[in-house]
Amino acid sequence: MKLLRAIMHCLLVAVVLAPLSLTTTACGGTAASLAAADQGSIVIRRSEGEDPKTIDPHKAGDTLSSRHCSMAYESLLEYDFLERPAKLVPCTAADMPTYDHATLTYTFKLREDVYFQDDRCFHPDATTFEKEGESKQALRGKGRKLTAHDYVWSFKRLSAIPDAEGFWLFEHKIVGIDAYHARAMDLFSDNPEGWRDHLNNGSVEGIWAPDDHTFCVRFIEPYPQFLYAICMSYGAAMCREAVEYYGLEIARRPVGTGPFVLTRWRFNMEIVWERNPNFRDQRFPTSDKPEHERFKPFMGKRLPIADKVHFRIIKESQPEFLEFLQGNIDITGIDKDQFSTAITPQNELTPLLRDKGIELRTWEDPYMSYIALNMDDKDIGTPAGEKGLAIRRALSLCIDRDDLIRRYLNGRGSPARHVIPASTFGYTEESAMSWQRYDPAEGRRQLAAAGFKVESIGRDLYRTTDPATGKQVSINVLIRRNDQASADYAVFLKASGDKVGVRIDSERMTFSEWLKRSNDRVGQAFDSGWIMDYPDAQNNLQLLYGPNAAQGLNYSGYNSEAYNRMYRELAPLDEADEAQRKRKGELVVQMHAELDKDLPWVMLNWNKTYSLYHSWYSHPDPNPFAYSYLKFIHSDTPKRGELATSWAKMPVLPALLMSLLLFVPAGMLLNRVIRQAR
């Protein structure tokens, strides 16, 4: 009984102390502790929805991984931070490359002041990370100078590893790269030594370095998009010593020439980057343009401006948004669940956010959603002739894109009538595809004209039957998600089809299954999306190039002789050349006309990004193609500390109320039990 009484007393004390501990837990809370930790340095605080898949630039295909790769690694060129539309400028290259039209060769001269970060792999005693582990990491060697041979080796590595995501950008384009890749794949699993020798000593005919500071690439055919392609992470220079020292661990321990050094990466928790002391003397660009006025305080300053970039991994949208409101992170997107808290129906910030000085920025994303219609399908594709075309037109005309955007994207998008975004060269209002609009009455007329029987079966409800079979016209759409949103979307599609009497059935599936079905073109229509890789119309127009059907990009299997011919003419055209630029513009218009005629896609929408920034964060003008922008960003850390601490008020009343409701009755009950035990 004594023991029981002792336990009861302990519980009673705990119950009494609970409200007290509740109020003291937050003493020196998050905002204050962050302000103390950041004192004296410029710290950018951001969040990510998940860890990057990798920080190996050759394997980084997604935006998140690419953003982190660009912290540590650099390419020959990068996007100008200030200029819009996007413009390329030298990065580790001393100047823009020269191009020899006769030999189809780009020649880059490299800067002489670019060094890799200090790392263990450069230490003379270093063996391998597998043998040494963390114990020797403090003993670092001095980072060596970047040479053109590093780029040669990096391009070879991109071609030699089986899971390189960016190889498709150079496949069939650089002289000798396909043969090099095939040989590497043959060696990879059966002969690792041979593979290593092939990587280090084998050569690609079209990639070479005449000296330490000259890098050349020769192409099979003109490839002007190459300059954009190398701005993606795949064009980054890795150093052989680091890859050999770290092995697979290189994906988590980047060793590059970039502005930041990875100092901490704890999975599902945080990623911390700090200023690279070896980073070359790069300055913030200067400009007199009025739109760049807000960057005046930073112009001419040495990069990176921030001392540290701290990423928290926050998977759920609510905690991310709440952390942002508390001032613990500088910038956030707006999830649909938080949209009404942040944005009013008038598309303005809510007073809650406005009072905190938060700024809203919106811009068009180069991401398009579309439904690829299988052109080989016997009912809706080319084999169905005029009837198939009528069904495709009706499908396009029955979808109210504005309603779709309003319902499923919180208005964050615009109806798509072009295959390329408005910011891309070649875009003209006149080239908008005429069938990519909402007009169900016209859709019904098209079906009737093609010989289908269209009858009204209710208000806004129609039934279209094929007199030849007596069956209702139907189409099956494969949707690449299997969540509630996709179920709602399937209902929307069905309701749209009812407006022209076409039954639209949807099959929802995992992305993996969808990819397999769409690559094999097993299905009538594929709900698809594409994010543009670089600001060149060719990147999107290739999705409808006939031979790309075998490559898995052209899901509709569209194979128009005229379109293919125009694409082949357009792809090598260089926008830098005035005559070629003019021709490219004409071709983009003609290709849109061709697509409008055949209608292999139902275009849905272009996405629009909404971002929220705190007043202390010097956000850039958006450039969705650029990843290496964090070196230009400033975050007024003292201001953040001051404001966030002032927002972190801890009211006493709720704690008291909770105590009364929960802990006082529990305490009374315990006391009664103790008394009875005596």
């Binding site: 937050a26 089986p162 069939h172 994906a251 599902n268 998977k315 690559n519 039990v673």
Partner: protein, 348 residues
């Protein structure tokens, strides 16, 4: 008892094999090797690159026709490139799929060698599980212990004061709390207790003792959510026991109510409680999925679901094997504990 334990241990590999077979079939029913390859080389990779990845990883083997086509691909003239960009390779003609039996053999071989390979981020799976397990346990173990302790305590109180105001208040509060949607409680708990009133951090995790302040709110919410079920379960168990003859005898002997409940009833309710506790062990290290994602705790709960969603076969395989082994051991432990708690139970 020893013979019983040994026999159970001998059954384990067979049960484990059954679990592995089911997991293998289910995983490869929903995920094809092509999908695995696409996850690694990207959506935009060519068919040939996807096939090369599959060949390197043992999912297909090139046939002579396929090799010839690959060679022809390399020897295409420059003029041909723009016209026939990339040839299509046909299943069964240019390459042969590795049979499921061989794939399963490799799958088993790797498990037997404790070689779980790398996850989709090229991290050793064993290290990923090891790191995540501690964060999961840091959340679930204290939460589970507190919830069980309070559950047993309030269950006893409710049984002790049955059909009184105290019992009614406890039961009604338990029903009310059990009726609240867990997600809603996490969301509102986080919004008000952390974001609005700043009593706790909104989310995050720390090293060592620093983790405590991040764990307090999720633990509090876990305990609160568990209270409803715990109280009702324990109250019923306790009430069942209090109707037994030995309780009547104890009361007839003049023992006070507390002695009856805490000395006699509690001991005899151990068997259903042990079952409940031991079966919960595997779920403890796997963490509390939603709590982990909401409060940014880097545990195993989210990792497993993330692995399934991203076709991370190695993580799925490791968690299934680990989960099965833990579950079987937990069952064995519960059998042994029955015998310890109740001398009448004989294991044979």
């Amino acid at each position: 008892m020893l013979a019983y334990v040994l026999r159970k241990l001998l059954y384990m590999p067979l049960i484990l094999m059954g679990v592995i077979v089911i997991t293998f079939i289910l995983f490869f029913l929903v995920t094809s090797p092509e999908a695995l390859a696409r996850h690694r080389v990207g959506e935009k990779a060519s068919q040939q690159q996807v096939l090369e990845w599959m060949a390197v990883n043992g999912y297909i083997e090139w046939t002579d026709a396929g090799r010839a086509k690959r060679e022809a691909e390399l020897e295409r003239t420059e003029d041909e490139f723009d016209k026939e960009l990339g040839k299509s390779f046909d299943d069964g003609v240019d390459y042969k799929r590795t049979s499921s039996l061989i794939l399963f053999g490799r799958y088993i071989r790797d498990i037997a060698r404790f070689d779980y390979g790398m996850d989709r981020r090229d991290r050793p799976v064993t290290r990923v599980l090891y790191e995540g397990m501690w964060a999961s346990l840091a959340l679930t173990l204290p939460a589970f212990l507190i919830a069980e302790l309070l559950g047993v305590f309030f269950g006893l109180i409710a049984a002790m004061y049955r059909q009184t105001k105290i019992d009614h208040v406890l039961v009604i509060s338990a029903i009310l709390i059990a009726s609240i949607n867990n997600i809603a409680l996490y969301m509102y708990g986080q919004k008000f207790l952390a974001a609005e009133w700043n009593y706790f951090p909104v989310s995050g995790y720390g090293d060592g003792f620093n983790a405590v302040r991040y764990l307090m709110l999720p633990i509090l919410l876990y305990v609160f959510i568990s209270y409803g079920d715990q109280l009702r379960f324990n109250r019923i168990v306790m009430l069942d026991e209090t109707n037994q003859d030995y309780v009547r005898t104890a009361r007839a002997k003049g023992l006070n109510e507390n002695s009856v409940l805490f000395k006699h009833v509690l001991r005899n309710t151990l068997i259903p409680l042990i079952t409940r506790w031991v079966v919960a062990i595997p779920t403890l290290y796997l963490g509390a999925l939603v709590l982990e994602s909401f409060f940014g705790i880097p545990g195993l709960g989210y990792l497993t679901v993330d692995a399934i969603a991203n076709s991370d076969v190695n993580i799925v395989r490791a968690t299934v094997v680990l989960g099965s082994i833990t579950f079987m051991l937990a069952n064995l432990l519960s059998d042994v504990l029955y015998a310890v708690a109740d001398p009448r139970v004989k294991l044979s």
